[in-house]
Symmetry: D3
Subunit: 293 residues, 6 copies
C-alpha cells in the first residue's frame, strides 16, 4: 500500500504550512482508470499546482487572504496503475489516516470515482455526513458497461454509503432517463444550475458536509480541459458565488475533480481549478473561525 | 451525378433506424468551396458523428429520448470538388429525392451556401415555405466578390426563391450597412439575440418551416470551431431554448452548418453541434406526434 | 531613438487614410519586456491586423461605418530589445510627436506597461487628463519584485503622473489586499464588472480622457489569448456596451493591450481585439463630430 | 465477456472483404489501462482508420496493391474499463476465437500490454512461435511499480510464455541497466536500430513468427503521437524497409501499438500508422502466396 | 478578371526592389479549391511572408546574399472563389502579363493545380520548356473523381501541354499503380528521393526549365504543414542540395506549393518554405549572372 | 541581488544528492529578455524538469547510470525582470559563488545570452578556458539593433572575454555574411554539422573547456520547441554522439539553452533537452573518474 508521507511536498505563497500545523490538508489523486472518454485527469493535480504560484493569495470575492490560514500540500497519493479495486483501497486508507489526525481535506482529482473511497472514509468518521455535489452529470448509474466502480456510477455508490445524509445535486444536465428519475426520487436535484444552493445551510444545520465539485459543472467555454465537456453549464462567477454561499456550512472535506489539462492548450482550465481551490480553501477555513466565535 | 444510397451508413444508439422506417433522415454535405476565410467545414459532418456515440440520447431539456423516435443517418452527399454550380445541382437532386420519399431531413454542413439548393428543393414541394434563420451574419449580399453563389449571399438567394414565405432572422451581428438595410425592409430581423423567436408559431401557424442554424450564431467562447467566428453571440442555453420554443412549429427540414472541427482543438465545438442535432431532431419528431393527436 | 515614419504602413478597408488627413492614428507597440508570466504580447499588434481585413467596417452596435471616418495605421514603434527604460523613452517620444500633430491616438499593445509613457505624454499636453481603466488586474503595486516599471505597477505610476485627473477602474478581480485598499482610497473602483461606467461623462464633463483597455478584463472564455487570464470576467457584449456608453466622453487617446495571439490557437482573441478597435475608433470619431455640432 | 461479431464493421478501398473470405483480419484493441505516462492509445485504432480512406492502396515500396488481397476490419474488441485482468482475458478469448477460424490477425493498439494475451493465444496454436519486436523500450522489467501486467513488462511476460521461440528485439534505446543485461542474455537484441533484421529468416526458417511493432521505435520527429516518445529512433524508411525484409518470414500475426493520436495535432502519426498497416498487411499476404508456389 | 498591380506590395530586407528593376517577380496564388483532403493552402503565401523578415538574406549553402540581386513581391493574385475554371483563367492571364515584361517568376501556392495555368503561359513563351517536378505524389491521374482539373491530375495536364519538353519527377512515393506505370513510360521518374537530379543540366542544356516544388516532397517530420503529408520523404538538406545542383540550369520560372500553415502549430513549415524560396531565388539569379559571363 | 540558496530544490531519481556532496550542480536561468523572435525560453528549465522524472537514469549510449554519480538541482536563479544588465550581473555573481565551492555546473536556459556572464565567471577561475559551441546560429554579431548584449552577439562577447582560449563552433547554418567571415578568421568553425568534434581533445589536451549547447543546433523536426528554428540541423543521434565524443575533454561547465516548451505541443522538445542533460551530466562525471585513474 502506498501511504502519503504527510510532509509538505510543494510550497507556494499561501500554502506553506507544515503538516502538524495545517488545518486543511491538500492532496492529489492522479487516477483516471475508469474514464470511458478522453483520459488525462491524472495530470489534474499538477495542472492546478502549475498555476498556484502565479495566483494571488487574496480573494476579492471574500475579502480574505490565504496567507491568514494554514494549508499544507502533501503531494499525490501514489496509484497502483491498472487496478481499480486496489486504487480504491489505497485512496481509502490514505484519507482515513489523514482523518485520524483530525485534518480537513481537499482532494484534487483525478476522475470523479475517487470521491467514493474518500466519502466512505468520511462516513466512517462522520456518521451523519451529507454530500453537496456540483456536476454536469448525474453519475447515478447502477453500473456502467457492467462495472460497478466507474466515474458514471460514483454518486450511486455514495448514495448507498451514506447513512441518513442527503445528496444535494446542482448543475446536472446530462444523464440517462433512469438517472434523472432516480435523482428526482432519492437526491435533492437542481438541474442545469446552482439555484437554491444557499438553502443547504438551513437544511443541514451544523451537520458535517462533504463538497464534491466536478469542474465540468462549468460551461466548457471557460473549462474545456476535461474529459466529457457538456455545453450549457454555469459560468465561473456562478460557481464561485455558489461555493461562497456555503460559507456557514460545516464542510469537513471537499474534492475538485475532472481537470484534464492537456485538453486545454490555453492553460485557462488549470487557472480555473486553482482559483476554485482558493475559494474552497478559504470557506473551509473561515468556518473554522466561526466555530470558535 | 452522385446520388445517396438511402441506406443506414452510420449507426449509433438513438440513430439506428433503417431508411424505410425513419421519419427523419440525417445526411451530411461536406462542402466548403465558397468559404472566403478559413476553410474546413467539409469536416463538419464527421465532426458531429465523432461525438454522437458518447452523447446521451436523453434530453433533460425536453424530457424526451431519441430512442423513442426513428432516425437514420444515410451518410454524406458526395461533392464534385472544385465546381460550385455542379455541387449545387448535386445537393438539389439528392434532397428532392429524399423529399419524394416523404422524409423530413436534417442536413449537417458544410458551409452555409448548401442551404440554397436544399431550400429550393423544399420550396418545390412546399410552396408556402417559411425560413427561420439563426446566424451571426446576415448573408444577404447581392453578390460577393462578383459571385452570386456564396456563403455571404445565401439568404439573399433564398429570399429570391421563396414565394410568400417569410425569412425570420435571429442573432445577426455582422454584415454591411446595406445588408442590415435590406433585412430591415425584407426580412423579420432580430439582431444580436433570439428574442421573440417563440412568436414564430403565431405568425406561421401550420405552414411548413425550414430551420437553418448557422452555428456561428453562438458566441465563439462556446463554438470556436468555425470559419468566421463573431464575438458577442448567444450562449448554448439561449440557442437550445430558442430551438425548443419552436416545438409546435411545423418544421419539415433543417440544417446545422458551419462547424469546422479543426479550428477547435478541445473538441467542444463538435459536441455543441451534436447536442444541437439531438434537440432539433426531437422537436421535429415531437411535432409529428402532435399532428396525430 | 527609433521614430515612426508617420506614413500609412498598412491599409485595409476602413483604415486607409493618409497621415495628414487622419483624425485618429493607430500604432502598435510590440513590447512585452516586463511580462512576468507568459510572454508574447509583442505579437499583439500584428494579431489585430491579421483580422482587420476580414472584419466588416460597419458596426451594427453603433449603426456607424469606419469608412465614414479617417484612420491611418502607421505601423509599429520599434522597440530597443532588452532595456525597459530605453523602451519607455522611445514610446514617450513617439507619442509626443504624434500629439504635436494634433492627432488622437489608439495604441495596440504590447503589455500594459506601455500605457505609462503614453499617458505621460498625454498629460504633458492635457494637464487635466482623466483615465478610464478596464482590466482584470488592479496594476496598482508600488513595485513588483523590486522593479518600479512593470505591468503590475502601471496604474500606480499613472496615478503618480496625473495632476487632478481621476482614475476610473472597472472589472478588477485580481490583486493583493494592499492594491484593493489603495484603490478604495485613491481610484474610483468598480470591481468585477463595468457597472456605472455610463456615469463617467457626468463626472468628467468635457475634460480630456484617456481610455486604457486591458483585454483581460474579458472572461478568458472569449479571450484566452493573453498572458495572465483571469476567469470571471465580463463578456464581449458588456465590454462593447461599456465602451459605447462612453461615446459622449472626450476621449483623446486609447490603448488596447495584452493580446498574446500565440496562446489562442483558434484565432478568436485576435478577432475580439480587432472588433474592440473598431468600436473604440468609431466612438472617438463620433465625438469629433459632436464637437462640431 | 465481450466477443467480436466477426462482421465487416468498417469498409475502405482495399479493406472490404467479408469475414469468411478474408485471409487477414484486422481488429482494434483500444486499451490504455496500464499506461504510466500520457494515456490516449485507446484512440489509436480509430486514428488509423481516419486515414485509411485517404491512403493509396498501392505500395510503391513493394509494387503491390491491397486490392489484390482479402482483408476485413472487424472493429474493436470491447474493453471492460478499469480492470486489467478482465481485459487480458477478454483479448485472449477474442484472439483465440479468430485463430480457430484459421485467420491471420493484425491488431491495432492500444498500449503494448495487449501483445501479451495475444501472443499467449498464438502460442497455444503455434507451439514454436518466435517474436520479432520493434520498439524504443526493452519492456523487459520483471514488474513495474509492483504490477506484473504493464506496458513496461510485456516482453518479459511474453518471454515467459514462449516455448523454444526466440525474441528478436530491434531499435531498443531506453530501459534500466537490468533490462539491457537481461536482453543481452536472453533475447536477440539489436539496440538503437534495425540492423540485421533481414537475417531473421535464416534463423527461423518456416517457423511461425509474431511481429510486434511498437511505433515508438520511430523517431518522435515523424511519430510524436505516442505516450512515451524517445528521441533517437529510426526513420520511416528504415521501418518500412525493415518490415519488407521480413517478407519471406512466416508471419502469422502482428500488432501495431502505442499510437496516441491526440498528442500529434498535425495528424501525421495517424498516417504513419496507416501506412505501416498497409506494408505489414501486404507482406503477410504475399507470404501466403509464396506458400502456394 | 483580377489583374495584379505590378507594384511592390510587401517589402523585406532582401526583397525590396521595384517592379521595373526586378529580375525576379514573386507572387502568391492563394487557391485551394480542388483540395480533396485538408484545405488551407490559401494561407500559404502569407505563411511564407510571416517568416521572410526574420530570415537571414545570406545563404551559407551558396555563399550568396539576396541583397545582391533584385527581387520584388507583387502580392497575391486575387482568386474568384468557388470556380476552378475562372481561377485557371485568372492565373494564366496574370502570368502571361508578367512574362510579357520579361520577368522570371516564382509563385507561392496555393495547391499544386496552380502549376497548370502557369506552365501553360510559360509554354506559350518558351516552346521547348522542360519541367522539373519535386513531389511526394505523382499527380498523374487522368481525372480525379471525374474532374480533369485537380491537384491529383496536374502533372498529367502539364504533360499534355508541353511540346517536346521532358518532365523530370523526383521524390515520388505515393500514387496509384496506373500513375507509376504512366510515369515509367512517359516521364523521367526517380521515386522516393532526388538521386540523379544533378544530371538534369546535361540532358536539357540551355533549354528553359520550369521548377515545380511541391513541398510535401519533404518528410512530414520537417514539413507537417501540408494537406496530404506522406511519411518517408527527403530531409531539408537533400531538398536544398537538390535545388542547388540545378544552379547551371536555365530556370525561367518556379513554384513552391502546398504549404498549409494552420496544420503546423510550431510554425516550422513556414520557415522551411521561406528558406526554400531564398535558395530558389538565388539559383535563378546566379544563372542570370552566368549568362553574362 | 538574488542569490541561490544552494539547496536541493528539486529531487528526482538520479538527481538527488545534497549540495555539499554534489560534484555537479544543475541550475536554471529562466531569462528570455533579449529574444527578438518568439519568446518563452523562460519556461525552459521547468520544461526539462517536467520530463526528468519519467526519464530512465541509465544511458544505453554510454552504458552508464546517473545514480552512480552525485548531482544536485538547486533550482532557478531569480531574474530581475525587465533589465538585461542587472540580469547579467545576477547570473555572474551566482555562477562565481558556485565556482568558489569548486562545483562543476550545468545551466539550463533561458536564451543563449546567459552564456556570456557564465563564461565570464568561468574565465575568472580558469584563465585558459576554451569554449565548444553547438548552435544553428553563429551569434557573432558585433551588435544587434544597436544592442551589445543580445542572443545574437553572445559568442562575439565571449570571444572578447576569452584569453587564449579557442571557440570551436559546430552546426552553424545561419548568420550574416559578416558573421561567417568573422568565424572563418577567428573561431574554429564547422558549418552545418558536428564533423570533427572528436578532434577537440587532441587540440585542447587537459585545458578546461566550457560546453555551450544551443539546442537549435538540432533539426526542428526533432526540436521545434525553440524561438528561432532553423531547418537543416543535425539529428538527435548526431548530437548525442558528438557530446559523447568529448568524454575525455576536461569539461568544467556546460549550458543547454533555447528550449521554449510552449512552441512544441507534443512535449518532445522537453524530452530531447532532458536526455541531452543526462548525457552531458554523465560525460562530465566520467571525466572526473578518469582524473583519478
Amino acid at each position: 500500500m502506498f501511504m502519503l508521507d504527510k510532509k509538505s511536498i510543494y510550497q507556494y505563497e499561501g500554502i506553506n504550512s507544515i503538516y502538524h500545523d495545517a488545518d486543511i490538508v491538500i492532496c492529489g489523486v492522479p487516477f483516471d482508470g475508469t474514464c470511458s472518454n478522453r483520459p488525462g485527469t491524472r495530470f489534474g493535480p499538477d495542472g492546478v499546482r502549475t498555476e498556484i504560484d502565479g495566483l494571488e493569495t487574496y480573494s476579492p470575492y471574500q475579502d480574505e487572504d490565504m496567507i491568514d490560514y494554514n494549508y499544507v500540500d502533501v503531494g499525490n497519493i501514489e496509484i497502483p496503475i491498472g487496478s481499480t479495486s486496489r486504487t480504491m483501497g489505497c485512496i481509502h486508507e490514505n484519507i482515513k489516516s489523514l482523518l485520524t489526525d483530525n485534518k480537513k481535506i481537499i482532494t484534487l482529482g483525478g476522475e470523479h470515482l475517487i470521491s467514493y473511497p474518500i466519502v466512505k472514509a468520511f462516513v466512517e468518521k462522520y456518521r451523519n455526513l451529507h454530500v453537496v455535489h456540483l456536476d454536469a452529470h448525474a453519475d447515478l448509474r447502477s453500473d456502467y458497461l457492467g462495472e460497478k466502480l466507474s466515474h458514471a456510477t460514483v454518486m450511486r455508490r455514495i448514495y448507498e454509503t451514506l447513512n441518513n445524509g442527503y445528496i444535494f445535486q446542482y448543475g446536472i444536465r446530462s444523464g440517462t432517463k433512469e438517472e434523472f428519475q432516480f435523482a428526482r426520487k432519492y437526491t435533492k436535484l437542481q438541474a442545469f444550475n446552482l439555484d437554491g444552493i444557499e438553502k443547504v445551510k438551513s437544511i443541514v444545520g451544523n451537520d458535517p458536509v462533504y463538497l464534491s465539485i466536478d469542474l465540468d459543472v462549468l460551461d466548457p467555454s471557460i473549462f474545456p480541459g476535461t474529459g466529457t465537456p457538456e455545453p450549457g453549464g454555469v459560468d465561473f462567477n456562478e460557481l464561485i458565488n455558489g461555493i461562497i454561499s456555503l460559507k456557514d456550512v460545516n464542510i469537513v472535506g471537499a474534492d475538485i475533480v475532472e481537470l484534464s489539462p492537456h485538453y486545454d492548450l490555453s492553460g485557462v482550465s488549470n487557472i480555473v481549478a486553482a482559483k476554485t481551490l482558493r475559494e474552497v480553501a478559504i470557506i473551509m477555513s473561515k468556518r473554522e473561525e466561526h466555530l470558535y466565535e
